[in-house]
């Protein structure tokens, strides 16, 4: 059975002032035991999709099922099977981590005694034992996310939804969460996570769907997506605009980014001399050229026509940290 089966779902928000098609047409399937990543920029419709799948928003059109249970008609049963950590973490700052776990265990129906036991287990699992009796107000961003993750695990859900679990975290905390998420997957939990970070999707997700403006524009494993580009990416850089414009006409099918042009071809390295000759004979000066295997970044650019902002964040932060 599929863990998650989403068929052409759509969400429109209608109010007096406006009409927003937050999700236009999203379909994907998640197999049990895998990490599935929904990758897309801010406003792409990731959270709206997650809210529909977790029974918190109605589905305007289309249908979705979780472990064979229809999300709309069997919402109660679905809630029993899923764990949810939303983007805007619903965490009670005035309580301690232990109190939050205990309360959540009790709400899921555990007795006092079982709740205490489960609380200890989960505090260990997400590494918050030491901070257990401090108010959540004093937790760092990373600790709050781990708490949030832990809270979504109270009832040992088979399917876990994580909406941007690491956004805004420093690279160290991000790694810790990545490791925890992978460990959960290795223990058989199916995970659907959303992210704005290419690296995160690349590192964590067994399969990725790229979502842009409410549509799934590409889907597959990271390798499949990269292979789908077909060959290598050659990047030409130019010092002046005239050269760039001329080159655009000569090379055809390029994608421009700032002072660079990219072209995707089979066996890139061997084709560079030919291109340079063409350009040179037309008097175009190229300041640098390189051929690379496509990255997820290139895939994103190819399928959406723009580069994912903030995808450099991680590298930047990592560099900052090294300094």
């Amino acid at each position: 059975m599929l863990a998650v089966d989403v068929k052409n779902i759509k969400k429109t928000f209608v109010s007096k002032q406006d009409y927003v098609e937050a999700v236009k047409d999203v379909s994907f399937q998640v197999k049990q035991g895998e990490i599935f990543g929904l990758l897309g920029p801010n406003g792409a419709g990731k959270s709206t999709t997650i809210l529909m799948l977790t029974t918190l928003l109605s589905i305007t059109e289309g249908s979705a099922s979780i472990l064979g249970l229809d999300v709309s008609s069997k919402d109660k049963e679905v809630r029993e099977k899923i764990g949810v950590a939303l983007q805007d973490t619903g965490i009670d700052n005035l309580l301690t981590g232990r109190e939050l776990f205990f309360t959540t265990c009790r709400l899921w129906g555990y007795s006092n005694k079982d709740s205490e036991k489960r609380t200890t287990e989960l505090l260990e699992l997400v590494g918050l034992m030491e901070a257990a009796d401090r108010r959540v107000k004093t937790y760092s961003g990373g600790m709050k996310r781990r708490l949030d993750l832990g809270l979504s695990l109270v009832h040992s859900p088979e399917i876990l939804f994580l909406d941007e679990p690491t956004t805004g975290l420093d690279p160290g905390s991000r790694r810790v969460l990545w490791d925890e998420i992978k460990r959960l997957r290795d223990n058989g939990v199916t995970i659907i996570l959303t992210t704005q970070y290419l690296e995160e999707a690349d590192e964590l997700a067994d399969r990725i769907a790229i979502i842009d403006e409410g549509l799934v524009v590409a889907e597959g494993t990271s390798d499949e997506l990269k292979a789908g580009i077909g060959g290598d990416v050659i990047t030409f850089a130019f010092e002046n605009n005239n050269d760039l414009e001329n080159a655009k006409n000569i090379l055809k099918n390029t994608v421009q980014e700032k002072n660079e042009l990219r072209i995707t071809v089979e066996d890139g390295a061997s084709k560079i001399p030919g291109y340079l000759k063409d350009l040179g004979s037309n008097g175009v000066e190229v300041s640098s050229v390189s051929a690379n295997k496509p990255t997820l970044d290139d895939v994103f650019l190819e399928v959406t026509g723009y580069r994912l902002e903030g995808s450099e964040d991680i590298t930047n932060e990592e560099e900052k940290r090294k300094r």
Binding site: F13, T54, T55, L56, L57, S58, K76, R79, E80, I82, V84, L86, D88, T89, G90, I91, D92, N93, L94, L95, E99, T103, T104, R106, L107, W108, G109, Y110, S111, D114, R135, L151
Partner: protein
């Protein structure tokens, strides 16, 4: 593992959690308590000191010589407005996302809504009770005997729940804790367009008219009857009725708006 997810268990857990939140912010209890006590001390200090023990025939014989008895109902009504915190508690959870988390779990939505109402009720009882206690210490002495204290407290409770309902409705409707907070400004017309410092007979013109339409008037008059005059059943009945109708109205609004808030968009 044995699992118990009955409505009452959930309500109890959610109420306990919210009590913890209140206990962790003790200072938030102070403003309303201070305002309520202020009425008691300032009024008694201003008039009681000068005219204490006034015989009949003076401008102040409405107090029958005990200003504490006369002003205590105002303080208690003011204390009972602490019920308005219910809406603020609920909206805080909506704003922080805790509400959404609960909705994603198999929890009764009525338990989610009722927990802050419960805590509002507790708050009303504690604050009113505390003011009553201060009143007793400084010389309140109901004309009908000690049962008068119970009557006053029970009216205050119903009245306070009316404010709880009102704040929940206003908070959910506005969707922000500022909205719920703003709702508490109803306090001013409620207290000041009523026979707060003098009996209704002494109010003149538009103030008299406004007071006649203000349910607070009847609530205060009922409490005052018990404290100052003795058994006046029609006045008492009007007091319970005003408080009861107000509470019924606002609690209905609260339920309606809360039902809407918990529906899927």
């Amino acid at each position: 593992m044995k699992s118990n997810r009955s409505f009452l268990v959930q309500l109890q857990i959610l109420t306990k959690r919210m009590v913890l939140r209140v206990v962790r912010r003790p200072l938030a209890e102070l403003p309303n308590l201070i305002i309520s006590a202020f009425f008691l001390f300032v009024y008694d200090g201003a008039l009681g000191g000068v005219f204490g023990g006034t015989a009949s025939g003076t401008p102040f014989d409405f107090a029958k010589g005990n200003f504490i008895n006369f002003i205590l109902p105002v303080s208690i009504v003011s204390a009972s407005l602490s019920g308005a915190a219910s809406g603020i508690y609920l909206v805080e959870d909506i704003e922080s996302g805790v509400f959404k988390r609960y909705q994603s779990m198999p929890i009764s939505r009525w338990a989610i809504i009722l927990a802050p109402m419960n805590v509002g009720a507790l708050r009303v009882l504690l604050q009113s009770g505390l003011i009553l206690f201060i009143g007793i210490i400084i010389g309140a002495d109901p004309a009908v005997g000690n049962i008068g204290f119970l009557i006053v407290l029970s009216i205050a409770f119903i009245w306070g729940m009316g404010f709880a309902g009102y704040s929940v409705a206003a908070g959910v409707k506005s969707g922000s804790s500022q909205g719920a907070q703003a709702a508490t400004f109803l306090f001013f017309p409620a207290i000041f367009l009523a026979p707060t410092f003098v009996p209704r007979e002494a109010l003149k013109g538009w103030l008299e008219t406004a007071a006649a339409y203000n349910p607070t008037t009847y609530v205060i008059e009922a409490m005052r009857a018990v404290m100052v005059d003795g058994w006046e059943l029609d006045i008492l009945f009007r007091g319970y009725l005003s408080a009861g109708l107000f509470a019924a109205l606002t609690l209905t609004l609260a339920v309606l708006s809360a039902r809407k808030a918990t529906e899927k968009a």
